[in-house]
């Protein structure tokens, strides 16, 4: 039955394409030959999570469509990143298709030349379905997937916007309105904090490294830019200091004790138990928040965009993509798989389950797909609104991990009372030589 759907869709597309091409007089043979690489075997390495699950669950459909056999494994994100880098360095990776985190690995992969160029494949009508066009991907997705020369080195798979989760019940009890700006957010958080009762206005990542993904929402909205025109890092300027002061205020005055050690897991625990009223984090947490077995706030969660700062309103954006190892011998078959992974059908499933947000506008804006979303409507709206104000959440450099660790440690220190400007300066001094070394190499 699944097979029937796909072949019907392909048929329709083929018919449409044939009709269109017929007008131009080009022979109407421009149809994807899905079966051309039947019998090929592909290896895929995935980071553990809903994206990987979605692929593995439905991979039979791909095999039915193309006759290509796919072996895949899911490894926890951090370990997957290491394994992939080590194997790619060796020159003979055990996989053809790789799932990568753009915000950490983009620059590293480009500089090392580990990914195959997909640009020619995308122009080949026998390999690419007519609905897969560059312009369908959001700007952030293209920024991530393309290198300086404009080559597509991967297909943008799933985007992670940061949004504001809030507890409607606590807001109503205290008569607080949903904040639209940072000032309103601080004021609201103060009103919502009741330390005696054990509830707090705000919760978010305080743990070094993890905390950077939250902080950049503040940094961007205070008008911060990570790199200047010459590629120097700028995280000790007035924007960074202002963002850090806000971070310090929220996480020390109106957040639960111990937040300096919180990652998303501890933050989510506090929020799902109704002990924190606001939480800024990635868009993918709606399923656990709406799961009665894991959450006490089912049906009481509000979803909205990150409040505006004095210099703008952006949602810090992260994302992952799927690419082909340059060393793979089955590039065309691998490309068919990548294409299927970001196809409308797979993207719709991902969005509808709340497990991720496709980079493709044609999926996100399709009313039929939207109506099938199992998460609350507000969540979907926050996703659509965030897409409009999306901005990359980390600098596109090779030593991203060092950046997150050093500036992240500075942020954590401010939670024990250290001065933001001094700490940022210190982190900056430590990080600058690392960045210079990596760009020089």
């Amino acid at each position: 039955m699944a097979n029937y759907n796909i072949s019907r869709r392909t048929l329709l597309k083929g018919t449409a394409a044939a009709g269109a091409l017929g007008l131009t007089g080009v022979p109407a043979r421009a149809e994807v030959n899905w079966k051309k690489y039947a019998g090929t075997k592909l290896e895929v390495i995935l980071a553990k999570g809903p994206r990987g699950d979605n692929l593995q669950k439905n991979i039979k459909e791909f095999t039915e469509l193309t006759g290509i056999q796919v072996e895949s494994e899911q490894i926890p994100e951090q370990q997957q990143r290491q394994k992939v880098v080590i194997e790619l360095t060796s020159g003979r990776p055990s996989f053809d298709v790789v799932h990568l985190s753009y915000h950490v690995q983009k620059r590293q992969f480009e500089k090392a030349g580990w990914l195959a160029d997909m640009t020619p494949f995308m122009k080949d009508p026998t390999l690419t379905a007519p609905d897969l066009v560059e312009s369908d991907f959001s700007a952030a997705g293209l920024q991530y997937a393309k290198n300086d020369k404009g080559q597509m080195l991967s297909l943008p798979w799933s985007v992670d916007y940061f949004i504001l989760y809030y507890n409607k019940e606590l807001f109503e009890k205290k008569g607080v309105a949903v904040p639209k700006t940072f000032d309103e957010m601080v004021a609201a958080a103060e009103k919502l904090t009741d330390a005696k009762d054990g509830t707090y206005g705000f919760v978010g990542r305080g743990l070094r490294n993890a905390n950077m993904t939250l902080w950049t929402n503040f940094f961007l909205n205070y008008g911060g830019e990570f790199l200047d025109a010459k590629g120097n890092i700028q995280t000790d300027g007035p924007e960074a200091v202002a963002a850090t002061k806000l971070y310090q205020t929220l996480l020390t005055k109106v957040a639960p004790p111990g937040v300096a050690g919180f990652n998303w897991m501890e933050s989510m625990a506090s929020f799902t138990q109704g002990r924190s009223a606001m939480w800024i984090d990635g868009v993918g947490w709606a399923p656990p928040l709406e799961d009665p077995a894991a959450s006490r706030v089912v049906g009481k969660v509000g979803y909205t965009v990150v409040p505006a700062g004095p210099k703008g309103q952006y949602s810090a954006t992260y994302g992952d993509g799927i690419g082909i190892a340059a060393a793979s011998k089955n590039r065309e078959a691998a490309y068919l798989l990548c294409q299927w992974v970001v196809s409308k059908k797979q993207g719709a499933r991902l969005l509808q389950a709340g497990g991720g947000v496709p980079f493709r506008n044609s999926i996100l804006n399709d009313p039929e797909i939207q109506s099938g979303v199992k998460m609350p409507k507000e969540w979907l709206q926050s996703v659509i609104d965030s897409a409009k104000i999306s901005k990359l959440g980390l600098p596109v450099v090779i030593p991203v991990a060092e950046f997150r660790d050093l500036v992240g440690a500075a942020l954590t220190s401010t939670l024990s009372g250290a001065d933001p400007a001094t700490e940022l300066k210190k982190a900056h001094e430590q990080y600058r030589p690392i960045l210079e070394r990596s760009e020089k190499a």
């Binding site: 290491q82 004790p257 111990g258 050690g261 625990a269 506090s270 430590q430 990596s438 190499a441």
Partner: protein, 312 residues
């Protein structure tokens, strides 16, 4: 045929002569497999690590020989210096506490009482669990808002603590987990020691009217000292290279308050992919472990001499 007969003794004699001088010991072929294995998996990696530490060696970029500059970088790297301090504090605490508690529990479990076997079994259960699984459970127990530890404290009127979520308390809290898990090991070793002690000294002490503390201090403790050293050595080696519990609970945080050398080394080598610098850290770390082991062995030697001196 005759040629063969004639040549045989000649060949035999030419072979026999050097055989006496040059023949290698007959056992050497049996050494080869072990030698190859040792060379391949111990010596070679070590030499290679030292070689890497003398190079600027980053994944994805060409390597260049830089001499000792990675080592010089270590001396001015505040994160590394802090990590050394954290490692020492963590190690000392997680050797001393299990030793004390393990010895006490061994003395208790050495007594005869009802249900002893069952309780011993319960007591050594933490040791059987997987450290990472334990770490995840403890992380939630430490949670300042929702954790069971703060709830228990609240029952006896002690204010809530931040445990692993505050730089000042994170190392003691991690040591708590380590102690909880490894005290049983010390107990088992010491219990073995206690079982080996003859009963005569105790009988004469009883006749001389020694108190419980005197018996423990002057008879039990000296006699189980060798076992305590073994336990201490095992604990030290384990604690200094402890990784799983720290990594799973705090990843070296908050900030870098619980970042030990091992955790930092892991970040440098496998998150920053700076293999040259990581190797330099590994070499220094190794030297530190050798130094600690040497100090322990020296202390042990001294202890034996004083034992003999005071005994004589």
């Amino acid at each position: 045929m005759s040629a063969l007969i004639q040549s045989t003794p000649a060949a035999a004699s030419t072979e026999a002569a050097p055989e006496k001088e040059l023949r290698p010991p007959s056992y050497w072929p049996f050494v080869v497999p072990a030698l190859v294995v040792v060379l391949a998996i111990i010596i070679f990696p070590w030499v290679f690590t030292i070689w890497m530490s003398l190079n600027e060696w980053k994944v994805g970029s060409p390597t260049t020989f830089v001499g000792f500059s990675n080592y010089l970088r270590l001396t001015s790297d505040p994160r590394f210096l802090e990590a050394v301090g954290h490692t020492l504090v963590y190690t000392v605490l997680s050797v001393v506490l299990p030793l004390i508690l393990g010895t006490l529990s061994a003395v208790v479990f050495h007594q005869n009482f009802a249900g002893r076997g069952f309780l011993r079994g319960v007591f050594i259960m933490p040791m059987m669990a997987t450290p990472v699984a334990i770490a995840l459970v403890w992380t939630m127990m430490f949670h300042p808002q929702l954790g069971v530890l703060n709830y228990l404290l609240s029952l006896v009127g002690i204010p809530a603590q931040l445990w692993v979520f505050h730089p000042a308390t994170v190392i003691p809290s991690l040591v708590l987990v380590e102690t909880w898990q490894w005290t049983p090991l010390v107990m088992l070793i010491v219990l073995g020691g206690l079982a080996a002690i003859p009963t005569e000294p105790y009988e004469s002490a009883q006749i001389d009217g020694a108190s419980f503390w005197q018996v423990f201090r002057f008879i039990t403790l000296p006699l189980i000292m060798p076992f305590l050293f073994i336990a201490g050595m095992i604990r030290m080696i384990d604690a200094v290279k402890s990784f799983d519990i720290i990594f799973a609970i705090t990843q070296g945080g908050p900030g870098s308050a619980s970042e030990t050398i091992n955790i930092y080394l892991y970040s440098v080598a496998f998150t920053y992919y700076d293999l040259g610098y990581g190797s330099a850290i590994a070499v220094v770390f190794f030297l530190l472990i050798v130094l600690l082991a040497a100090v322990m062995l020296y202390a042990r030697q001294r202890m034996l001499w004083t034992e003999i001196a005071s005994g004589a």
